[in-house]
């Protein structure tokens, strides 16, 4: 992204205080005013502003006390009334005739809520995109409402209180001194890049960081305490887009619940990411802003946030995959059923539609990387990133390791392991790029943690899936994408009738398959039970979900009885090739 040309100017703010204003892009294009938070200055917006400058007149400015703007003489100079008046002055200067689109982050958003609900200044705005900053009147009402116990309100309040530690710290006399001592400012770039994934450069956090941090403390001191919030907070009718990064360490998503009372015309978009998304996800923020502005400019209602999950399932033509599709369809999700055999996938889609969901089907060979990427692109074009991906397609293989050939290994690993890798990569990339809050579910097996001489190849492939799941879970945690492994025991899915027994003749193969299938049926664990486990994994964000008693016992044995586990591994579980005589036979 090449930096757009920046035009600097100065505008007189409230009380004549000079404000440093920067403009990018064609002044005839729709004007966006971007307001930064604490302890930033306008440079926090650089990445987003450069992306928006091609099609918009993008305006940033340094809030009083920050960057190149003037510093008020006393605490009263930091009160919201002054901040709102500053914003009004900037808007009047850069777009005297047309209302502007407001975009604000953190403290910028707090003051912007006051601005858009202000009876005079509020008229100057066509739309508002708010990130990580609730209106203070709303916060006061939120705290009042959360004093009543029940419905998890106390827990939400406690969670937010813990994350608001710095507000109390800023009331102490030490806060500005800590900034001025310099050590915090020196480590700040590391903090925001490591903990927040924010992109740092020479201009952000820039040379003014110490002054921004020290002066900005007055924002909290002047406005957060001793303020009487009106009983009925003022409202605004402009279209508001509330971008909620679910990984925000400072503003919990729960604190933003009920903002639609302040702005009835509000769309809430939860996205993966932390507090500084203008720096960690500039593409996403720029796209959301541009879409919102485009909708408002065209007099369209902004696209509502998706109210249902888009679920992609591989191996959806039978067994667990099909049941998972049906379970999601029953909740009203949109299901994209894929299978090697197109007609079985379509049958699944048809059943999903009968259950009240919407569904489509695609033929997909999970060993074909290009086909995966093509599917991901098609899904992205039609629905955007999916919210849930279930990597389910798998093969069964049993028999001695010494009888397992290279070709056997290649086929098995290509489907069971690389199929999961391809799915997680193709869709995981989409989800991260779009900031989709979602979940990736990999169907592993109890064999992943239960060694057995009977299933060396299969168990190895599934153990790899389990480890991949754990690593991916760690990687995607900051993007609010959960990753789970489902580890079923013996489930009656038909996998037994398709399992390949290496080193067996065709007849033995058939007989073993039938015997294994009957054993699986006797276990009476249905694919529906696995589907319910998938829903549980998604809803509760569980890392590993065992299904059926043998899977739970295997997990316990792995932790507490490794010797027992190794002893069991030596038992040959290959089904006998001769059916045993029926019980109760006459002697």
């Amino acid at each position: 992204m090449s930096a757009a040309a920046v035009r600097e100017r100065r505008v007189a703010g409230f009380g004549g205080l000079p404000l440093a204003v920067q403009e990018r892009g064609d002044a005839a294009a729709p004007t966006l005013v971007l307001v930064h938070g604490y302890p930033d200055d306008h440079a926090v917006w650089d990445l987003v502003a450069d992306r928006l400058a091609a099609d918009h007149h993008v305006v940033t400015y340094d809030v009083r006390g920050a960057g190149a703007s003037g510093v008020p003489d006393d605490r009263a100079g930091y009160r919201l009334e002054a901040l709102v008046a500053d914003l009004g002055a900037v808007v009047d200067a850069v777009s005297p005739d047309q209302p502007v689109h407001l975009v604000a982050h953190d403290w910028g958003s707090i003051q912007s809520w006051s601005a858009v609900t202000d009876p005079v200044v509020g008229r100057r705005f066509a739309s508002f995109t708010s990130m990580s900053g609730p209106g203070l009147d709303h916060v006061a009402a939120w705290i009042r409402a959360h004093r009543i116990p029940g419905a998890g309100r106390w827990r939400a309040a406690r969670r937010q209180a813990v994350r608001s530690w710095y507000i109390a710290a800023f009331r102490t006399p030490f806060a500005p001194k800590v900034w001025r001592r310099g050590r915090l400012a020196r480590s700040w770039p590391l903090v925001v890049s490591r903990a927040e994934g924010a992109e740092v450069d020479a201009r952000w956090p820039g040379p003014d960081l110490v002054a921004n941090g020290a002066n900005g403390v007055e924002l909290y001191r002047a406005n957060m305490h001793g303020r009487t919030a009106p009983k009925v907070p003022p409202t605004t009718g402009i279209p508001v887009q509330l971008v909620v990064p679910v990984g925000d360490r400072y503003v919990t998503p729960a604190l933003l619940d009920g903002m639609e009372r302040v702005a009835p015309n509000l769309v809430r978009r939860e996205v993966g990411g932390g507090h500084w998304i203008p720096r960690s996800k500039p593409d996403l923020v720029a796209r959301l802003v541009a879409e919102h502005v485009a909708a408002v400019e065209a007099d369209r209602a902004p696209e509502p946030a998706p109210d249902r999950d888009v679920v992609v399932v591989t191996g959806a033509g039978s067994g667990i995959g099909r049941s998972v599709c049906l379970a999601f369809a029953e909740r009203g999700s949109h299901v994209i059923a894929t299978d090697l055999r197109a007609e079985t996938a379509e049958r699944t889609a048809e059943l999903c539609r009968l259950l009240g969901g919407t569904a489509q089907s695609h033929a997909l060979d999970v060993t074909d990387g290009a086909a995966f990427d093509a599917l991901a692109a098609a899904v992205a074009a039609e629905h955007g990133a999916p919210s849930i991906v279930v990597n389910n397609a798998g093969l069964g293989m049993a028999g001695r390791f010494l009888d397992t050939t290279d070709e056997d290994w290649d086929l098995l690993l290509d489907v069971n392991l690389r199929g999961v890798i391809r799915g997680a990569r193709a869709f995981g990339r989409l989800m991260v790029d779009e900031g989709r809050v979602g979940h990736i579910v990999n169907v592993a097996s109890a064999a992943a943690f239960t060694p057995s001489r009977t299933l060396p190849a299969y168990a190895t492939s599934k153990a790899a899936v389990l480890m991949l799941t754990e690593c991916l879970r760690a990687e995607l945690a900051d993007d609010a994408i959960g990753v789970s492994a489902i580890c079923p025991g013996f489930v009656d899915t038909g996998i037994a009738t398709a399992t390949r027994y290496v080193g067996a003749t065709a007849d033995e193969q058939d007989e073993r398959r039938r015997a294994a299938d009957r054993m699986y049926k006797r276990r009476r664990v249905t694919p529906d039970a696995v589907a319910d486990a998938v829903l549980r994994a998604v809803d509760r964000d569980r890392p590993i979900v065992p299904v059926a008693a043998e899977a739970r016992l295997g997990l316990l044995a792995q932790r507490f009885a490794p010797h027992l586990r190794r002893a069991i591994a030596r038992i040959d579980l290959t089904p006998p090739t001769r059916p045993r005589p029926a019980e109760g036979s006459p002697s």
């Binding site: 379970a327 029953e330 049958r347 259950l355 019980e583 006459p586």
Partner: protein, 293 residues
């Protein structure tokens, strides 16, 4: 005529296949029961409970001359018709679940008239329900499959497994697995004409249960089972007699079944009657016996 063949020794045949007159009596009771179920189903309204529906069907059948029961009527509404979340053996007994608009339901009754027994399952919905319709459509293939497999001399266990495979291919769960004994069907015994000797709390008639217990004992000796399931005891070639077949399919919370009598003779098998509501419905909808449209 097809000769039954199997590589296993055929079990000793029990009793006679019912005479033509007896078959007429069974057919008449089956007709009577399906008619009653359809009539009662047509009167069901939102808010009625399973207990009330089952009681209405019982009253109606007793007024029609029913003098004993293999089992009293059952009624399953909504996802109970798919036996969803059934864990305990008696959860199939009627409850106070209320019928709602658009809900699927099943009425299941097994009355006896002068020693002849019917056992029927009637699936419908209150108002349109495309999912119930679809599962009922797809049951047509099971009706054809069962009789084909029996004619081919497959063991009962193999027939059970063939139904399982078809259900899995169609995408349905096998819900007869949740029945007592996991049966897809069971033998129907002709009883002496005469009144019953009471009903157990689980709604099964005592006279029939005794008869069934005797047959189970005989079956143990002769290596066959009057309870037609997927386990080893059913791994025997077809046994002549009357068999009430009840394939029951589930699609998450949607359940559908039919139940009717299959007549197995020494060398053939056929459904007792084709003039039944579900068969007429398939004909009207242009579904052939194979289930294809």
């Amino acid at each position: 005529m097809v000769t039954m063949t199997a590589d296993r020794p055929a079990p000793a045949r029990r009793g006679q296949v019912p005479s033509a007159d007896q078959l007429d009596a069974f057919r008449a009771v089956q007709q009577l029961t399906y008619r009653a179920a359809a009539d009662v189903a047509a009167t069901l309204e939102p808010g009625i409970t399973e207990r009330q529906a089952a009681a209405a069907l019982r009253r109606r059948l007793e007024a029609d001359g029913v003098d004993d029961w293999f089992h009293l009527p059952f009624a399953w509404f909504g996802d109970r018709a798919a036996f969803r979340h059934f864990r305990l053996p008696l959860q199939f007994l009627p409850t106070n679940r209320r019928l709602e608009e658009g809900m699927g339901f099943i009425l299941d009754a097994a009355p006896v008239v002068r020693g002849a027994t019917a056992d029927i399952g009637f699936t419908s919905s209150l108002g349109p329900n495309p999912a119930v319709d679809r599962v009922m459509d797809d049951l047509a293939a099971h009706r054809a499959l069962i009789v084909e497999e029996v004619r081919a001399g497959r063991t009962f266990r193999e027939v059970y497994e063939a139904v399982d495979r078809l259900a899995a291919a169609q995408g349905y769960a096998n819900r007869h697995h949740a029945y007592p004994g996991h049966v897809i069907g069971h033998a129907i015994e002709p009883l002496d004409p005469g009144p019953g000797i009471g009903i157990t709390p689980a709604r099964f008639g005592r006279r029939h249960l005794r008869s069934l217990a005797r047959t189970i004992a005989v079956g143990r000796r002769e290596r066959w089972s009057p309870l037609w399931s997927g386990d080893r005891r059913s791994d025997h070639p077809p046994v002549a007699g009357l068999w009430a077949m009840e394939p029951h399919l589930g699609l998450r919370g949607v359940g559908a079944k039919f139940e009717e009598i299959l007549v197995i003779t020494d060398d053939d098998a056929a459904w007792l009657d084709d003039d039944l509501p579900h068969v007429r419905r398939w004909t009207e909808r242009g579904i052939t016996a194979t289930g294809a449209r």
